[in-house]
Subunit: 683 residues, 2 copies
């Protein structure tokens, strides 16, 4: 019978039919003949004879009554797939529901095999992954990292020819990793290229893909309607912009300019140099000085005008400034101090739980779509979307940040309308943060250290139709020396609990001037958030950077799909990850050679006001800040981004004015050393 | 020892190292260890053990003293290669000279093996092909069609993923051809797409590539300095424009607009959808409304301003209108009535025999280069050139025709300055063409019939790193029913010879009006040219369309590299082709469903004035009109394009006025039927 491991074999070599043996054990699914795709039906016997001989193990497949796939097949097998395109979302929603409806894992596996060799491989991967993440009986299955199935969405297309050469010519033991130059998409003539290490980081892009797996736009409402989904949409993207802006300052670039004038040419170009192995087409480039144009893409069922985007924008601003929205059935609903941002996030994003899609439209998604079709708005050239049109690749393009800076600005416009935090809302009576220090191994106090690291990823499970055996790609990414915080807190009250909130922001603006609080508040990057027990009197809190509530460990971003991994008990649990979470190696900004001055901010808030009544233990609870906790409420009752999510109280001009005794700021320095270190365990 | 067949194995699977067995006989070169590329030296023994076991036959390789490849290696193995880029031309020239300098075929083969696994594969193919075409001892070697080594330059990139699936999954006998949709690059929303069948025709693009093989820009002067090279550059391209314009009229489009204002945005976009398997990058697209920009491409050693193009243009026009040029050493040389166009063609093209490159520059080539870098003029985005920058792909892009219409216009400007043909220059006293008829099998008299045909090409020799065995791609191209001419000529003189010149041109302009002669003269397409013996009295000349002096047979365009082909004698001779020549299937324009009216023009000129004193028999003499004859003088002493190459004598307003008794015009109709026929011998 199907076990929960064999279903993961379907993630390997997405274009190779299911009857082809796969995995180290050369296991082949015993595919019923009526499951074969049309191309293979006439030669079924021939194929079975051929591939059965090659298989060391047969995996039984339960015969089930097969449903009609219907319109799901309208997206071609060799097309590209995008969650931003309403039609693709709808088709994916249908397939997710089919997978969710299977009565047990045996039937799910059987259905998946049938679907796999027919539907679009990207859509298949997405739908099966959403199902595995959300079905009760597959909670102990670890969905493989997307890069293992589709490395072509993450690495320089040049790699694949060389990888084929390695795999074909060089025997397994003698293969060498293929190095991707860090500067493969552009040169330093292009100012924006200074941020390529961030935009093109594998971990960041995997995080973004995984976030959208956890928060799909379209599926059964029980999957879509997650706690504070809209607010998390706002906050996670706000934090991306804050992080991007900090990186920009480290690279002598001003904060990103919002993409506000949708009629003007866009100066920044982007040439992704990615080649879809499935769609068998390169991702289109976005050249300089193109303008949004009205879309007429009949194949995607998209007819949309820039006018329409503008109407949606105007209505959303009307909602923000009037403090109320129109619902689908004509009622008026107030945007509340705490839940208003959630409603607004859902409205802007949007998804099937958007409050009134007919009226407020689909602004954020369609912005991506307009930008992604800028080169071929009426499909006359039969071009697919650019990277900005695909959540797996969108963060590579500089325009992603300009668009999301605009989206964030809308949200901030709302935040400006709600009550400001009083001292009382911020303070924790009797709790004083007295000092903060951060320290990395062998480093100076309050100095963080960054450098380049090289890590290897195995491409071979994602490369169809080539000899077996690993072929590694070596990429270069930012890394930092891990460090720990040491925080001294005086508690003049009794034994109690607090939430320790750690943020960091650049100490100066792009001019080299001190920040006004209004500006700096948007720059604060959340580094960690955790509950602390406070004894009466002196407390020293120590915390390691690797424990961050924002990140997932390096090994989770780049884990290999290991079919020989441990099963059961604790050993299994350590493999049970969601994959959503900021990559640990990108926790702190790059800094500069001379040391980039930052404000490290620590606040201890009253846990009694923060606490959510639930058991926070369980799966995927270690990167809750940007991802929430799987199947649970968001584990912090405060508005996301607290205490920086609102305009400050009167009289607060600079950060210093903002501080209450339970907060403290320490100036730290991030020093970048231009050296490259190979990750341990690689040769 | 190397035989002349084994050297052709080097054309197969260009990225697979030479020690990998190839060909149906699984023959492997016995590569000396010191020939191995650096990557393979450390594992040489392992590799030899592995691949020797797989080889059925070993081909000995003579050890020679290896020359330094030096700067030839500056073009990377995974880069793209262009004859238009001066640096690439120079590197190619050096490699050609190395190949030409080898003392015998054994040494050539040895040198080629050494170079093959080191230098850029496109450059290798080009240089070896030029050498094989020009070496005395390799005249009986048939250079394989470029598409067999590099199918990626000719077919939709989508094909390759599917081809890998066919080759890997389906056993050899059961494989099915992969069909390329005729509309893969654009839809009919784009007016220019109506011409895609012409621009993207495999045969036309192969002809263009082969023409540049025969007429390289840079190599030993004895190779470059061919008889009337500059004039042929002018004439071959003039004919391409005439043919393109006829196709445009058939498709309700006006004649192509010259690209004359180099500062204005170019409206027509082109998205080639080709993916270089070697460079492992897609060919960049050219989106709408981009403008030429000054180039700063240090890697290619190109610094060029649009200003500079304009200066070259102005100086060339100055030469044309003053009738004289400045040579490199300061002398003044007159542009003569007959040789002026040759000088001018060399000047505009240009090549190492250009009369004064410092002064007149490199207009035509650099126009290609400017257009090909329009998306990334300063290389900030590390992009390679677009299709227009590569002679193998340039004819796919609509801008090719706008650029060459401009180049042609310059040449016509010169032609307007030279003496017009008098009646005496045109007439052949006593020879009267009395009637013309053309007839296709089962067709109406004077009606030509066109339709779609599907033909298959084997990709497998050009796809590296996949299982052996043929994988066919099926493409759809224009075809016509073959036909024959029947021409009645009265000769009132004695036994003598004439040159029969057959042209065709649309009967009406794009408005549906009759042509003025000045306009129609540029529309005449050469269909054939041959020597006829005229008896006294009545003569009936019959000639088959397949005998055309313009074309090469269908099978030569699409021949397979067959290593089991006949050797020696006549059987060999029929395989000894050059490959240069217009493809037979594109001999006549597409026509229209209702029948496209054309003027079929026949002229018998006096052979005594046409004749060149040489034996015209030999290799490649059947497509001399656009290609010349290999190693011989151009076989017609008249100005190329005669009698339409000059402005008409006074009083000639329309074609009818132009005719002397030895000329005649017959109205014919080209009827297109929208049906698709599979080529015989395919299933």
């Amino acid at each position: 019978m199907a076990n929960k491991e064999t279903i993961l074999l379907l993630y390997q070599r997405p274009l190779e039919p299911s009857f082809v043996p796969r995995g180290d054990k050369k296991a082949a699914f015993d595919v019923p003949e009526n499951y074969l795709a049309d191309r293979y039906k006439p030669i079924g016997v021939q194929l079975f004879n051929r591939f059965n001989a090659d298989a060391d193990e047969k995996i039984p497949v339960k015969k089930i009554t097969l449903p009609e796939l219907g319109e799901i097949l309208e997206l071609g097998r060799h097309d590209n797939f995008s969650l931003f395109i309403p039609k693709h979302r709808r088709l994916a929603g249908r397939l997710i529901n089919i997978f969710m409806g299977m009565r047990n894992v045996d039937e799910l596996q059987s259905m998946a095999i049938y679907a796999r060799d027919r539907v679009n491989p990207y859509m298949f991967n997405y739908c099966l992954s959403v199902a595995l993440l959300h079905r009760k009986d597959t909670q102990d299955i670890d969905v493989p990292s997307f890069i293992e199935s589709f490395p072509d969405k993450y690495v320089d297309s040049k790699v694949f020819t060389r990888a084929r050469e390695e795999a074909t010519v060089v025997p397994d033991g003698s293969r060498m990793p293929i190095e991707i130059p860090i500067d493969f998409t552009a040169s330093n003539l292009e100012d924006e290229h200074r941020l390529a290490y961030f935009r093109e980081d594998l971990g960041i892009n995997l995080h973004h893909w995984h976030w959208h797996l956890v928060y799909p736009f379209d599926a059964d409402i029980r999957i879509v309607q997650k706690d504070r989904r809209g607010e998390l949409f706002y906050y996670m993207h706000q934090q991306i912009i804050a992080r991007y802006n900090a990186e920009r300052l480290c690279n002598q670039l001003a904060r990103v300019k919002r993409f506000i004038d949708w009629r003007k040419p866009i100066q920044e170009a982007y040439f992704p140099k990615l080649d879809s192995l499935v769609a068998s087409r390169a991702y289109p480039s976005r050249v300089s000085n193109q303008k949004l144009q009205d879309l007429r893409r009949e194949q995607d069922q998209i007819r949309a005008d820039v006018d329409q985007l503008e109407r949606w924008r105007d209505r959303i601003f009307e909602a923000i400034h009037s403090g109320q929205i129109q619902t689908e059935n004509g009622e008026i609903k107030t945007l509340g101090e705490f839940d208003g941002i959630d409603t607004l996030g859902n409205m802007i994003e949007s998804s099937i739980i958007s409050p009134n899609r007919t009226f407020y439209g689909d602004l954020h998604n369609m912005g991506h779509v307009f930008l992604s079709y800028i080169h071929d708005p009426d499909h006359r050239h039969l071009e697919s979307f650019g990277v900005i049109g695909d959540s797996t690749t969108a963060m590579r393009d500089p325009i992603f940040y300009r668009w999301h800076a605009y989206i964030d600005d809308m949200c901030q416009e709302f935040k400006a309308t709600i009550p400001r935090y009083s001292v009382n809302d911020l303070n924790y009576d009797g709790v004083t943060v007295q000092s903060i220090q951060c320290q990395s191994k062998d480093g100076k106090a309050n100095e963080l250290n960054t450098f380049w690291q090289q890590s290897d990823v195995d491409l071979s499970r994602g490369m169809d139709f080539q000899p077996r055996g690993s072929v590694f790609v070596r990429f270069t990414h930012l890394q930092h020396q891990s460090f720990s915080y040491s925080i001294n807190v005086n508690n003049s009250g009794g034994q109690r609990q607090g939430t320790c909130r750690i943020f960091i922001a650049p100490a100066q603006d792009e001019r080299g001037n001190p920040w006004s609080f209004r500006d700096q508040r948007g720059m604060f990057i959340e580094l960690d958030k955790f509950v602390v027990n406070l004894r009466p009197g002196q407390n020293t809190i120590t915390r390691r950077s690797t424990e961050s509530s924002v990140t997932i460990p390096f090994g989770r971003t780049f884990r290999n799909l290991d079919l020989n991994r441990p099963t059961g008990g604790e050993a299994l649990e350590q493999f049970n990850f969601c994959g959503c979470g900021w990559p640990q190696h990108m926790l702190i900004p790059k800094g500069t050679a001379e040391g980039f001055k930052c404000h490290l901010f620590v606040m201890i808030s009253d846990y009694a006001n923060d606490r959510v009544n639930q058991d926070n233990s369980g799966l995927c609870n270690d990167s809750s800040s940007y991802c929430g906790i799987k199947d649970k409420l968001y584990p912090d009752r405060r508005s996301m981004g607290y205490p920086f999510d609102r305009l400050p109280r009167d009289g607060v001009q600079v950060l210093e004015h903002f501080l209450t005794p339970n907060m403290r700021v320490q100036t730290v320095s991030i020093r970048f050393t231009n050296r490259t270190i190979l990750r341990k365990g690689q040769n």
